[in-house]
Amino acid sequence: MTTQTMDRPGEINARPVRHPGRWVAVAIIAIVAAMMISSLVTNPKWDFGYAFQIMQQSSVINGLWMGTILGTVGSMILGVVLGVILAVMRLSDNFVLRGVAFVYTWFFRAMPRYVLLAIMASGVGYLYNKFDIGVPFGQQIAKSLGLSSDLTFFQFNWNDYSSTVWIGILGLGLSEAAYMAEIARAGILSVDKGQAEAAQALGMSPGMTMTRIVLPQAMRVIVPPTGNETIAMVKDTSLFIAANVITELYYQSTLFGSKAFKIMPGFVAATLWYLIVCSILMVGQSYLEKYYGRGFGAPTGKKRKKAEQKIIAAGADH
């Protein structure tokens, strides 16, 4: 160690770089914000008091729980389960399974959710009023053999379910599965092949290897985009009206607003509820990410980054 001498350079006391552009941007934002606030407080048509009243209506709350939230949870469960199955099929050695999964993903990614919901509600019921669950081609076989029974065990009427939340869940869930399949596939591929080999060397069957070793590790890559999908799904339940499902937040809030000729408070009530629900989900997502990241330290693996980029690319075309 040398001691400080006069001719050695000392502490740096430089002038910072100036950013005049930033100050211009701040000024513009401040002006726009002031205009918006001024509109909110001076235009009586906003009528926030009425918006808060709408938010608390029992029909709106019921729509929130039984339409928006139940619809989101239901279609995400269906979407995740079916999506993981499709992903495993896509990665299977069997070309029929691979082909089926590919065609499914292709069809449902190309299908707009609004159109899909309309078809689910009206189109299917138009084609087949009743569904007979039994032996395939049972009625034809029974007829040709002259049997009295037609080999039908169970019958249900599609129209009993159209315009209920279950049709909405089915439609959005089928669509979601196509996106979840891509996410789950990228997640499974992000797990090192040595993991499955180690599990197999210990005597685990392929199914156990997948569920106990590969999928839990794939979760680290699957959870963040699934959180985004869930948040997107909350918003997509507002499409339920395409399937004549009216027990749903957006429809009920705006209905209440338009009945009183207060359209904007109706929109505001729906918006505030969406903001609240989505904010809660975002907090929940960050906890889940921590849980599935255990044992990995900082989640900055090269593999994970790559997989995430793939997922973002796959999900970008919603």
């Binding site: 090192d192 040595g194 993991q195 080999e197 180690a198 599990a199 197999q200 060397a201 210990l202 005597g203 685990m204 069957s205 392929p206 156990m208 106990r212 070793i213 839990p216 590790q217 680290r220 599935y292 255990r294 044992g295 990995f296 330290g297």
Partner: protein
């Protein structure tokens, strides 16, 4: 030729004329190998000679195209029904692997499970053993590999040498009859090699049957009963370590040993 030390009863591993291709790359060209209970066999050979592929064939991580592999008298991967071979189902192959432990070059511990969970996973989930019994055994095994103080650590928090010792404990928890090691020390920093080899020496001394792919000549000379030198998918030379390593007969063996020993001295 000296006589191998232990040759009692039936061989535990009986491989006959094993061949294997990856597309048009003929990797194994008729390998014969017998390993008797309690023997430690070291596989030597240059990179790409098929050592990894061969030991992966033993526990069916690779399927073979020709020949037969028997472990403990049981044909691996197939059922022989009146001379016609039928491929076994995935579940049946999984059952055959339970008695064979494998240790990988890159450890392959389960990163989302703690050290203890890694060791306990297979006996509980695969064999359906009682959790209490397995836990006691797992803790004893961690003590045996010198990691009694690390049951709650995640693999990512351990050094390579510690991870490999956990991997050995994990394989032993299934109480295998046979242990396969594929270059267990090649991915380790030099100062960590010794701790893993010490565990393997102790395991050999306890009577475990082991097939070890390694370039550690000291280990081969001191611990093994039988050394097999492979090149180009065939066994070039085999026998007692004093003969194969101390007095090799074939030009290819001599060349390989000169190279490995030169590396050892420089390293």
């Amino acid at each position: 030729m000296s006589t191998p030390t232990l040759r009692t009863g039936e061989p535990l591993v009986h491989a006959v004329n094993v061949s294997k291709s990856f597309h048009d790359n003929h990797v194994l060209r008729g390998i014969d190998l017998d390993v008797y209970p309690g023997q430690v066999v070291v596989l030597l050979g240059p990179s790409g000679s098929g050592k990894t592929t061969f030991i992966r064939c033993i526990n069916q991580l690779e399927t073979i195209d020709g020949g037969r592999i028997f472990v403990d008298g049981e044909l691996m991967g197939y059922a022989d029904k009146g001379g016609v071979l039928h491929r076994l189902k995935d579940k049946e192959i999984a059952a055959q692997r339970r008695d064979i432990g494998m240790v990988f070059q890159r450890f392959n511990l389960f990163p989302h499970k703690t050290v203890l969970e890694n060791v306990m996973e297979a006996p509980i989930k695969v064999k359906g053993e009682n959790r209490k019994v397995v836990e006691e055994r797992a803790i004893a095994l961690l003590g045996r590999v010198g990691l009694a103080d690390k049951p709650a650590a995640y693999p990512g928090q351990l050094s390579g040498g510690q991870q490999q010792r956990v991997a050995i404990a994990r394989a032993l928890a299934m109480q295998p009859k046979l242990m396969l090691f594929d270059e267990p020390t090649s991915a380790l920093d030099p100062e960590l090699v010794g701790e893993v080899l010490a565990v393997m020496r102790e395991l050999a001394a306890s009577g475990m049957t082991m097939i070890v792919v390694t370039h550690e000549m000291g280990f081969a000379k001191e611990v093994s009963d039988h050394v097999v030198f492979m090149d180009g998918g065939v066994v070039v030379e085999e026998g007692h370590p004093n003969d194969v390593i101390g007095n090799p007969q074939h030009e290819r063996t001599k060349l390989f040993l000169r190279r490995v020993l030169a590396e050892d001295e420089s390293g």
